[in-house]
Symmetry: C2
Subunit: 201 residues, 2 copies
């Protein structure tokens, strides 16, 4: 049965269970992973896992949430902060890529397996995700307003493109992340074309 009250050890072990589940789900997928796999990875027996989750599905939900929360929190700080557009853009790219590195397994699970969650849980995650996208979109709107970005920019498209580009680095663990951050930001601002002499119009 579940523990009595605020229980430190329980919470720590549960956290460990979530990380184990993240690793196994990331490697084998939700349906390909067995509760035995997860339990073994944290050094307990299959049945014991149900002390921490009432179902395999609940474990998936926790993993997905664990993955995305770090994105969301950091984006909140960036959006609230008082920096010029270029800094916010670079901060977003940095946050996205470092989050993806730090919680690689959980975020992979969030991106690839969340559709196997029941409707209500999926809706909660979706809300977090579209909040994230909207905040990024708003940063682009500020960029347009401040004159850094072109008037004609489709900010919805821009936000989507950034997210897609940042998610596209599969084995990001292996890469020089600061190099990618720099190049992504440069691409977004200036594109790849040969630069002309800069003259204010």
């Amino acid at each position: 049965m579940a523990p009595e009250s605020n229980n430190n050890r329980y919470q720590q072990q549960r956290q460990q269970a979530i990380r184990s589940a993240a690793a196994v789900f990331a490697e084998k997928g939700f349906h390909g992973a067995s509760t035995k796999d997860i339990a073994e990875r944290m050094g307990i027996k299959q049945g014991s896992l149900y002390y921490y989750f009432k179902s395999k599905e609940e474990a998936l939900g926790e993993v997905c949430h664990y993955g995305i929360e770090v994105y969301v929190d950091r984006m909140q700080s960036i959006a609230d902060s008082d920096q010029p557009f270029e800094s916010k853009l670079m901060a977003t790219v940095t946050s996205h890529l470092t989050s993806y590195r730090e919680r690689n397994e959980a975020l992979k699970v969030h991106n690839d397996e969340r559709l196997y969650l029941p409707e209500d849980k999926r809706a909660t995650l979706k809300k977090l995700g579209s909040n994230y996208r909207q905040q990024l979109e708003h940063i682009f709107e500020e960029g347009v307003a401040s004159g850094v970005l072109r008037e004609s920019l489709d900010c919805h498209f821009a936000a989507q493109a950034v997210i897609g580009m940042c998610n596209g680095w599969g084995d990001i663990i292996q890469l020089d992340i600061y190099d990618i951050i720099q190049k992504c930001t440069d691409l977004l601002l200036n594109g790849f074309r040969e630069r002309r002499k800069e003259t204010r119009q």
Copy 2:
């Protein structure tokens, strides 16, 4: 047992089986889908499916191949063609996005489920994919050589970024694809920044 020789009906039915498998794998994932699901979708019984595939894994391999082949063929034409860089870039983006729309299910399966294939089959697909990436990289190198793109461009990064961005449009079926093509190409060439007066240096 397998059919005798060049058998038209067999090949047609097998193609139908591949498309059914693509749909079911795309919806439920490889491990979440059952051979019963696939068989039912094509209107036969579970056991009968094994007339067309010797295993569920073989079906996955066929689906993945069916998905990616269209990319690869089109990229070959573009790379072989004799167009200026801008046209090749736009043709690539167009090809990538329309392929993703036309074979949405199979390509989703290729991207998300191919890692569950046995090593040798996975290696074959990987070769196709990195061929694709290299050809795109080469297009960027031509762009630099022709003076359209900056000398300093990291063409490997550029190719990866394009692919990531193009794959990021999940429910592409719903979208105005020509709008996205136009905006992607514009982003890649010019970025989002407010344009300065153009003056040749």
